[in-house]
């Protein structure tokens, strides 16, 4: 095994959970998330030699994953209309909802699935990765104003699609 390959695998194993979480939040689907993580790792391996000269490949991984997510969605849209499954959990009339937390997860998953990939991406970057608007814009390769507008639209849609969750945020904020 080459030293570079060993270093890459060590990095990948360490970052796998975080990558998987980001991928799932971006796709809302376990299998799509697996593919997205795998594609991201391939891109990282492709550029590993160059990335080693920098401080960390984490930022590059974040950038690649978000752009791949948006690109894949664009490619799919012109082929077949694919409905993202908001959650692996059963939904609809047959669903058995045990508790309030599970209900919130399902509602949030369904609401996220109704967002565009770019809207999901700005939500992940701004509210999950805690990036600034400027940093989010650099990751997505767009302007700051685009990040602002996409964030505003995404939150407005979440309020419509999952009013209880956003209301609970507001209530907790007020308390």
């Amino acid at each position: 095994v080459e030293p570079e390959e060993r270093e890459f695998e060590e990095w990948a194993r360490a970052r796998a959970p975080a990558l998987a979480r980001s991928a799932y939040l971006l796709t809302g689907d376990v299998h799509l998330a697996e593919d997205l993580v795998q594609d991201t790792l391939v891109r990282i391996a492709d550029h590993w030699h160059r990335l080693q000269r920098g401080s960390s490949p984490d930022a590059y991984a974040r950038q690649v994953m978000h752009r791949l997510s948006i690109d894949r969605w664009r490619r799919r849209r012109v082929r077949v209309h694919e409905v993202l499954q908001g959650d692996e959990s059963p939904t609809g009339a047959s669903a058995v909802i045990d508790d309030e937390a599970a209900t919130d997860r399902i509602l949030l998953g369904q609401a996220l699935a109704r967002l565009t990939p770019k809207q999901r991406a700005v939500l992940m970057l701004r509210f999950h990765h805690d990036l600034t608007e400027r940093e989010s814009a650099e990751v997505l390769g767009c302007s700051i104003s685009t990040v602002k507008s996409q964030t505003r639209v995404a939150l407005e849609r979440l309020r419509v699609l999952a009013p209880d969750i956003l209301a609970s945020f507001a209530a907790e904020d007020r308390s």
Binding site: E5, F8, E9, A12, R13, A16, P17, L19, A20, R21, A23, Y24, L25, V30, A33, E34, V37, Q38, L41, V42, R43, I44, A45, D46, H47, W48, R50, L51, G54, S55, S56, P57, A59, Y60, R62, Q63, D87, E88, A101, D104, R105, L108, G109, L112, L123, M124, R126, F127, H128, D130, E135, E138, V139, G141, I165, S168, F169, A170, E172, D173
Partner: protein
């Protein structure tokens, strides 16, 4: 709200993340494959660009590459003669040619079958000396410099130099002098070239035949009447021992033109009154015989249509509509004359060869500023050649038809620069993200 939304997102994904299997084993190999593929694709694209440019510059228009010894004569003709990015020199082994072209700037070119141009060497001469190509494209005669006339056999690469004939400048001390703005005619066998030239002292008649064996034969024009001197303008060879002339005559009190055939000593063999030509002014450009001597194209000046004449009967068979180039003789395709004319259009004056009815057979790039274009009859009797540009544009005079290679090259450069900038930008953004 940020913190709460983050917690909800974590909570939403925590169970699903445990189901996601991340395998790192194949990623490295796949990444390496991807890297190699990208590099191979880049190398392939670069090679394709180089190949495209090479094809554009070397093949379109191409060059005569066949061994001259195996090519007894020219077989085809170019439809489009483009102003090339690079021109070669007419050298030993260039092979039979399809034509010759002279520009207004006095550049002299040989035209290959594929439309490539080769520079014909010339030194310090006065202007408008037109090279003369034989009907099979294998013999070329031209004034190389002020003191040397050259006959070149392109099939055998034999060169015969005449140091006795030079430019008729005031400082010339050579025995024979020749002048520009005059046509030359190769004999049917290709052994002699008839040009306008004269002996300085004692004064001789105005024509000589230069032989490939190095001989110079004075050719005398016909005598009109017993009291007149010898006058007439040659129109070419009838056979290897006889020359045709157009000579002014008078019939029924009106001006007329006769076609006179003489031997090289000027003895009249036949005289044929021509229907055409009443009232015309004769010059050295007034007539040209077809290869077999059965047809004569009679021209007067730029404003009068040329007439195709049966040399046996003197009848006019056809009349042209084209206005011919003033310092350029016609080319022949069998017994059909092709007239060098200009295409007046917005981009300039394209030189072209047309039939008498005006149908375009070949066209030259307007940027060449053609003074004269002539093609070998054997080539014109063959098929059109010239590769992609001919296939795409035929005899079109449109701007794009002359500049598509430049556009193609510019497009390739633009794609290359865009790709380089795009790659640089990606790496720059990535390095900034990584540094952060």
């Amino acid at each position: 709200m940020n913190q709460h939304l983050k917690e909800r997102l974590d909570d939403y994904s925590v169970e699903a993340v445990q189901q996601i299997a991340v395998t790192t084993d194949g990623a490295w190999r796949a990444g390496r494959r991807r890297r190699r593929t990208r590099r191979a694709a880049l190398a392939g694209a670069a090679a394709a660009c180089v190949a495209a440019v090479a094809v554009a510059t070397l093949v379109l228009p191409g060059r005569v590459s066949t061994d001259p010894a195996s090519r007894p004569g020219v077989d085809d003709y170019p439809v489009r003669i483009a102003d090339p990015w690079f021109t070669g020199d007419l050298e030993a082994g260039s092979g039979p040619l399809a034509g010759v072209l002279v520009t207004i700037a006095d550049d002299r070119y040989a035209i290959t079958e594929d439309g490539a141009l080769l520079e014909i060497p010339y030194g310090d001469t006065t202007g408008d000396f037109l090279p003369t190509l034989s009907s099979d494209g294998t013999k070329l005669g031209y004034l190389r410099d002020a003191k040397t006339y050259v006959l070149q056999d392109l099939a055998t690469d034999r060169v015969v130099e005449f140091d006795e004939i030079g430019d008729s400048r005031s400082d010339s001390t050579l025995p024979y002098q020749t002048t520009g703005q005059a046509p030359g005619f190769w004999s049917p066998s290709g052994e002699q070239l008839l040009i306008m030239a004269w002996r300085a002292d004692p004064a001789s008649s105005g024509f000589v035949a230069l032989g490939l064996d190095g001989t110079i034969t004075e050719v005398r024009s016909p005598q009109r009447t017993s009291s007149d001197g010898r006058v007439g303008n040659t129109v070419g060879w009838v056979d290897d021992e006889h020359v045709g002339w157009v000579q002014r005559a008078r019939r029924d009190g009106a001006r007329a033109v006769d076609l006179v055939v003489t031997d090289l000593a000027g003895r009249t063999v036949s005289r044929t009154p021509l229907d055409a030509g009443a009232g015309i002014q004769l010059s050295q450009w007034s007539g040209s015989l077809s290869d077999d001597g059965t047809r004569l194209l009679l021209r007067t000046d730029d404003l009068v249509p040329p007439a195709l004449v049966d040399t046996e009967t003197g009848e006019t068979l056809d009349e042209g509509v084209a206005s011919a180039m003033s310092l350029c003789g016609p080319s022949w395709r069998g017994d059909e004359p092709l007239v060098p004319t200009y295409v007046a259009n917005e981009s300039g004056d394209d030189g072209q060869l047309t039939t008498l009815s005006g149908q375009r057979v070949a066209i030259a790039d307007p940027s060449l500023d053609v003074l004269c274009i002539a093609m070998a009859s054997h080539g014109l009797a063959g098929s059109p050649a010239g590769g992609l540009s001919t296939w795409l544009f035929g005899t079109s005079e449109g701007w794009l038809s002359w500049h598509y290679l430049e556009l193609l090259a510019g497009g390739l450069v633009l794609i290359g620069v865009t790709a380089a900038l795009w790659t640089w930008r990606r790496r720059y953004l990535a390095s900034r993200s990584v540094a952060r």
